[in-house]
Each structure stands twice: as structure tokens, then as C-alpha cells.
Point group: C2
Chain length 329, copies 2
């Protein structure tokens, strides 16, 4: 394992320390690094809190800031944060209008956020994201996995919360955005979890994992590496099939790198995906290409399509000022 | 070689196509992809043009936009663009106040930009960046290499050009920013140039290249991988030694990933570098952590320190709206 770390046990702590110092104008860490919170909370606004295992940076802490999340709870690498982290984040971020948890659909995350919700004495609701069309059940999840579409849910809900939307409406909007969002990914290499010290899975020199999860979970099949167009065709096809009648109109499209794939390749994938989507009646109203929901040092990428109505696009365009996403301010 | 491409010869073309479609509100490609230019040029403003081999994305095309570059000329991967590209970019971008070329110090780039300057009939000047302290002469360069500090030069000059600074003053400012900027990098793995099909250099399982160049050029030495703190100490030490008396006061600090190193590690490196810099009298007035000047799929990172006076910090803070850098708008 080749990583720029001091020792495995201190990686998360030292990384959070660097993150909070580099972005000290935007975020602070809670006691014992239980959560990372935006410096200034807004009054009469539902607090949006997400979290999950580390190793997917910039998700979630990179999206803490005005117009997006109020707090994020970082677990150890690929390990759910604990209920006391979410509870502490809720207690610290709630300014009186309640708390909405945004949770990727993995058993550990769902269970721990549920437990925190039970323990929390204030008003509290949850939105669970499960945008990955690759498989119906996976290593750590019952039902579909929550992957890169989570970022889109967080951005749109972040804007709506800033507009003082109430907790019930935010929850409904989150379910609606998740319900119109689909993703699928492909891995060219494995990632290496620092505490494990060796690759999570093995791929041959010309093999790829089609439909991989963001922790390296198996996808639909292991196949030979062929042209990008061919693989993009399979991913976009799976997304469109699953969207069915919804796949018509304007969309927010994200080509998300898993960490080790150069931008040149991600833009090539976008180029290929865009053609297919347009041929199928999807208008790419907003586009993002880059590393937003990563899997440590895995090479590969995912494609996310969020069919977006006017309201969603308008919320998407609202200002955001977070360490990893900024526009309009 | 595992890459998401169709065929090597079309990689650049397809990638540029995707880039220009994804960011169609900001940039357009010139004929034959000779350059990528911002959609709207400003009157009475010096045109800033950079360029170089591809494979370092988002540098340079990702920095084309208001408040930064007017155009960028993409060469093939790790290959200088040709003089006719720079000439076409100059002719297309100059609104009457002349053109400033920002050139990383590699022999091919310097020669080709010089040739373009000779051919160009308008007013024209150049700034050459050479911020890499690792070695005094390298595979493709006489004198020091221009690396991640180039982004800082481009940002500060971009703001000054937007303020209608004239060509002579911009050139002087560019030389001043470059003169107060130093970088050094370390590679944990090689990169693989698509047309070559195999890694540029070989490293053992526990070896790193200290002082590596952004094309995988040799650095100062090949050593065993040890703690991040130890390697950061060597890089920051080399930067501070070279800055000498300049290393006192406020700085813009960039921890730049080469492409395949997770953000967790980059923030850990920032944390380590920050401590050392502060101990040595450098105040981190502005900080950036992320992949800005990459080397395809190389794992590793560089540290850049730009000692910045009030004017430079103020220009740094001015709005920018480019595909890969955005604030204030």
C-alpha cells in the first residue's frame, strides 16, 4: 500500500484537521471530530445533516456550507459514523426548525441514523438515497445503494432549506429528487482501504467491474475493457431503462470520477453520455464533470442523471458556498 | 493500460468536445480545436493566453473564463501545442490591448510560444513560469520547470487584466508572482501516457520519486516511502530554503494532487505542511487543496507556496468564473 499518511489510526483525524484549517472561513469541527459544521448557522431554517464512511471526499464534508449541508458526520474509512455523532451534530445544528438527515442506503448508515433520530429530542426526519441502478441488493445494502446522486439531493435540499422550506416539505422534496435520479458506475481498478492495506478486490489487466459500488462492492458483471463508448452505452442504457417514462425533458447530469481517473477521460465519458442522452430525449440542462463522490484511489467513474423540473433546476442554480462546491457567491 | 477511451488518436478531440459542451456557457473551441476560448471577450483588456501539453487538466483550459485566461492551447498529451495554435488564439482573443502568453518553462513550449510571438503582428509579451525547486535542469527543460505555481500566476494576472492593467505591467506582475512562488512534488506511482501505453517510469512497491516533475521527470532522488510528515518536511524545507529571506509574511498555499491521490491524503499533507510553514513565519492567508495541475493518473502531490503581498491577495480574491475555479460570481 502506497499512501501519504503517517499512521493508519491518525489518518482521519489529521485529514479532518487539515480540512478544517484549509476552510476555516466556512467550517469547524465539533468535539472529538464527531461532526463538521458550517461556522454560521441560519435561524428558522431546517438543519440538513448527512454523513457516512470517509473515503468518498469531497462527499459529505466538502458540501457543508451555506446553501447546502449544515453538518456532516465522518465515519472511519468506508465505515458508518456512530449514532452519537449524528446526535451531537443534530443538537449542535438545530436552530429550532428541526433536522433532516440525508442518508445513503447502506445498512450501517440507515441503522445508525435511525438510532440517532430516536435519541434526538427535537423534530427530525430522514431522506434515504438509493440512486444506483446496478444491483437491487449489495454487500452492505438491502435495496439499492446510495451513490453520487446523493450530492444532487444535498444541493437541491440545501437551497430549499435556505429558502425556509419546512421539514415535511423538505423530506418530500428529497424523496422526489431521489426518485428522479439514477446512477451507475464502472471500476477499472480497485481501491485500497488504508486499514486493510491491500486492494478491496482484484481485477485482471483487461477487466473492469460494470456496476461497481462506491466501496468496491460487486456490480452486475466483470467484463473485458473495451471502448468507452461501449461501456457508457451500457451505463446510460441501464439508467434510461430504469427511468422509463421519466426519461424525457431536462436533466442535471453528473459524470463523477471515483478518484484516480484523469479529467480527460471523464470529459470523454461525458461527451459519449451526452450524445446518447440527447438521442433519447434527455436535455442536459446542467452538467458537472469531476471527482465529487469518490472511492479513495479507485479508477473509474459513474454517470448520474437527475430528471429535473423547473423548481429543481432553480434550486440547483441557487448560490452555494461550500469547500467543494461554490457558485453565486 | 486501462483507460476509458475509444482510441488513442481521438482522446484529445473527444475530451475537448465533452469539455466544451459541459461548459458551453463559458467556453468555445476554436477551429480544429487549436484553442479553447472564453465565450465573451472583454474590450480594452489584454488577452491572457496559456497552453501546453494535455494531461494536466484542469490546467489550462479549466481556467479559461472571466477573471482568468482568455484562451488556452491544448497540445497532445505531454506535448507542446504548435505555434499556429498560439497564433490563432492570439488573433482570435486580442481585442486591441495586446496579448500576454503565460508559458511553463519547458523547451518545446518556450520555443513554440516564442515563434508564435514572432509571427503575431499585434502587441505581445510573455511570462515564463519556473516555480519547481526540485532540480535546476530536467528532461524537457533548461532551468527550472514550471508546475502548479502556474495556476497562481494565471489567477492573479487574470484579475489584474480584468482591471485593465496594461501589457507591460502585467508582464512585470507575472514575473513578480512567479518570483515569489516555489513548488515541489513527490510521486508515489508513475503516470501512463495513452500513446505510450505503459508507465512512464517504474517505482518499486515502497519507492517514491522525491521532486518529480509533472510529466514524470526525475526529481532529486528515489527513496523509500516513509511517513507523510517526513516527506512533507523535505518538500517544505526545500521550498523555504529556496525562498530564503522571502519566506516571511502572508502566503497563498496550494496542495495540489497529481491525479490519483485521495483528498483525504491531500488534506493530511496540507495539515502537515501548514504546521511547518507556520513554525517558519509563513502565514497561510489563502489555501487550496485539490487536483489542479495533474499528471494524468499519477499518485502523489506537490506543495506550492506563493509569498503574496496585499495587492496579490486582493487580486487573488477577485471574482473568477472558469470551469475549474469559481468564486465571487
Amino acid at each position: 500500500m502506497k499512501k501519504l499518511i503517517n499512521n493508519v489510526d491518525d489518518l482521519l483525524k489529521e485529514s479532518i484537521s487539515g480540512f478544517c484549517k484549509a476552510h476555516g472561513d466556512l467550517v469547524i469541527a465539533g468535539a472529538d471530530n464527531k461532526f463538521i459544521r458550517r461556522c454560521e448557522l441560519a435561524d428558522k431554517k431546517v438543519a440538513l445533516i448527512s454523513g457516512g464512511g470517509s473515503g468518498h471526499e469531497p462527499l459529505h464534508a466538502g458540501f457543508v456550507g451555506s446553501g447546502m449541508l449544515d453538518a456532516a458526520c465522518p465515519g472511519e474509512v468506508f465505515t458508518s459514523p456512530t449514532p452519537d455523532q449524528m446526535l451531537a451534530a443534530a443538537q449542535d445544528s438545530d436552530t429550532g426548525s428541526g433536522v433532516l438527515f440525508i442518508v445513503k442506503n447502506y445498512e450501517g448508515d440507515v441503522m445508525n441514523f435511525e438510532m440517532a433520530a430516536e435519541l434526538y429530542e427535537g423534530e427530525c426526519a430522514s431522506v434515504i438515497t438509493d440512486d444506483d441502478v446496478a444491483v437491487e441488493k449489495s454487500t452492505y445494502s438491502t435495496g439499492r445503494r446510495g451513490v453520487a446522486g446523493t450530492m444532487i439531493v444535498e444541493k437541491i435540499l440545501g437551497a430549499a432549506a435556505e429558502n425556509k422550506m419546512d421539514l415535511n416539505d423538505l423530506q418530500a422534496l428529497g424523496e422526489s429528487v431521489n426518485g428522479s435520479t439514477r446512477s451507475m458506475g464502472v471500476a477499472l481498478t480497485s481501491c485500497t482501504v488504508p486499514a486493510a492495506g491491500s486492494p478491496t478486490f482484484e481485477l485482471g489487466d483487461d477487466e473492469i467491474e460494470m456496476g461497481v459500488g462506491i466501496h468496491g462492492e460487486p456490480g452486475r458483471k466483470r467484463i473485458h475493457l473495451e471502448s468507452a463508448d461501449k461501456h457508457v452505452n451500457e451505463m446510460v442504457g441501464a439508467i434510461l431503462d430504469d427511468l422509463g417514462q421519466q426519461a424525457n425533458g431536462e436533466a442535471i447530469v453528473l459524470v463523477n470520477g471515483f478518484g484516480a481517473s484523469p479529467l480527460m477521460e471523464l470529459y470523454l465519458v461525458y461527451n459519449s453520455a451526452r450524445k446518447l442522452l440527447e438521442q433519447n430525449g434527455v436535455k442536459l440542462a446542467r452538467s458537472m464533470v469531476g471527482n465529487y463522490v469518490t472511492s479513495l484511489d479507485m479508477a473509474g467513474c459513474s454517470i448520474t442523471v437527475c430528471m429535473a423540473n423547473e423548481d429543481m433546476l432553480s434550486l440547483w442554480d441557487q448560490p452555494v458556498h461550500a469547500p467543494a462546491l461554490r457558485w453565486g457567491c
